[in-house]
Amino acid sequence: MCGFSGYLGSIRDGRVLLERMTAAIAHRGPDEHGIFTTPEAGLGHVRLSIVGLGDGQQPMSDASGDLTIAFNGEIFNYVELRDELRARGRRFRTSSDTEVILHLYEEMGENCVSVLNGDFAFALWDARRRRIMLARDRMGVRPLFYTMHGGTLYFASEIKALLEVPGLSAALDPIALDQIFTIWAPIAPRTPFRDIHELEPAHVMIADQSGVTTRAYWCLQYPDRDQPPAYTDERQAAEELRALLTDATRIRMRADVPVGAYLSGGLDSSIVSALAAGMTPQGLRTFSVTFDSAEHDESAFQEEMATALGTRHGAVACRGGDIARVFPDVIRFTERPVIRTAPAPLYQLSGLVREAGLKVVLTGEGADEVFAGYDIFKEARVRRFCGRQPGSHIRPHLFRKLYPYLPGLKQQSAEYLAAFFGAGDVSLDDPLFSHRPRFKGTAATKMFFSGDLRAELEGYDAADELMSRLPGDFARWHTLHQAQYIEARFLLPGYILSSQGDRMAMAHGIEGRFPFLDHRLVEFAAGLPPEMKLKGLTEKHILREATKDLLPPAIGKRTKQPYRAPDSHAFSGAGELDYVREAMSEDAIAAGGLFNARAVSKLHEKCRSRPASGFRDNAAFVGILSTQLWLQTFTGSRLRTADAA
């Protein structure tokens, strides 16, 4: 796991530029760095040495010198691929997974990505064809950004490296801001930076003198709902699931350094930790975050699981004030505004792993998307149930069962519950049915947008854009699969794997690995009947069945507890820090030009005086503060938004 940068084009002082670009992402690869230049292209690399410690330096060229690669991530099936390549007569000069890609490219060209099982982003210079190939893994674990500037294509693992290109400055894309304040993340390839794009997950780009072409090499698909189910025998499905998950974990244990695991105390990380512990004779190390507040803390479950597995467990306490203390650094790494503080404790957690001397951790991320674990899937089911009898006074009470941790819902009448969740007069055929209340509730935060920004965004609707990106066969899928697709295709790469995942882990040079996102498992789970995943209102049913022998009953039967952290209260609870006061001041808000200064001032005061603010106020506060920090960090706080694209 590493970081890279590069360009395609003839530029002066390419080596100097690559040194600057790689220095900007040095946190991703503290062990080594390397530069490769030709008259037509350049690659820079910073390395976190995990596989092939002594001979995996990058950029790496093949024996002919015609192919050179800069690679970030891991190819988990590299052992099997190398054996196959050797059987075909290919000779290897290193023990690294990087060299496997070079050989595969020589045999298969850009189609080589189809046989890779891994989390990867890479840039490969082909001197014979005078072209660059960029590629990214299927689910979007590893990042890759690019921009065209002065006729040259520049690319990098993080945007901060691109900002080293002379003459390239950061300006906010207002449409990306609208998307974040509606669906929590920009819709790739858009980023918050105007004219800087993200290579979408499961895509390859070929760039040469004639231009740039981009195509998808894989897509997440679900069966037609009218098709006979691929599985009817639950026991058989559970056995296959268990075998796949075990293998996905096994190949993610491959490393020349020790592998640890995050252990939140929930079902998913407990399963991964249990499997990994069984594959770690020397004893697994596990890591977690604890909170002061009972509504966020899961330490009792973490300790129970660590004791049951006999792991060496370490925890970092996220105390009042910690989130506010690290939040500016968090935004420097997310490189995008966020509406939740949840990345901040994960930033602390990767710091703990680094202090413990580890570089690699397994996590349970992805299980909620793949096996339908999120509350929003259950919520959609209850909303459909209520929508069939709009006047029912009984059915809406089910909403209370879904969100026992939300105090604002406990005291609500059935009528209000139905109204809040849009369970009355709604279109059951809406493609965004499952996510419409969330998008609508989040979009209410746009009331704080300034008049100028509202004018720029006139007529734009982020939810409409998302809907336009849905695949043609989406309408033929089961409604649960439609909801899963929206989570896995947009929110997983756009928020979970980026702002909470790669960027928070790599801030401290830690590589996260995600067994649940092994594409074999993703494809298998997509083909399972919906009722095997969400059985009634029990989430991840088949996963529980497949792993019940691994976990203590109290963990195995736990209802999903969403990972959350204190939001606006985190900034006011233990004395407000100067930067918060400054960033949220009327002067700074007015200078930024994005928000209504007077309204933000009132919101700020409300959050300070009433820490139990609801979702909208919390999301607005965190979204506005993080946007102000983004402006300060990347553009200088006095700059205005760019013109709407």
Binding site: G408, Q411, F420, A444, R598
Partner: protein, 88 residues
């Protein structure tokens, strides 16, 4: 009396949920939920406001959209409640 109650409630909504945006055209009959003015926590804030400012004790059965989902409904509810002794 109705205008006074309605004005006070409207001022609270503008200050607390619209954060001082007096330009928002809040029609008397506009749904506070459908127009994204109020969420589940907001309803509890509204209840606290009514209890604190109008001397009304609200039962759980009072906290329904029929009583609270527009300016006109809130004003009518407060007026009706105020006409009845709290202990009733």
């Amino acid at each position: 009396m109705t205008d006074t109650v309605k004005d006070r409630v409207k001022a609270f909504i503008i200050e607390n949920f619209l954060f001082g945006d007096g330009s928002y055209e809040l029609a008397d009959t506009a749904s506070l939920i459908e127009n994204d003015i109020i969420d589940s926590t907001g309803v509890l804030e509204l209840v606290a406001f009514i209890e604190d400012n109008f001397g009304i004790a609200m039962a759980d059965s009072d906290i329904v959209p029929q009583n609270l989902d527009s300016l006109a409904r809130i004003a009518a509810f407060i007026e009706a409640k105020a006409a009845v002794p709290v202990s009733a």
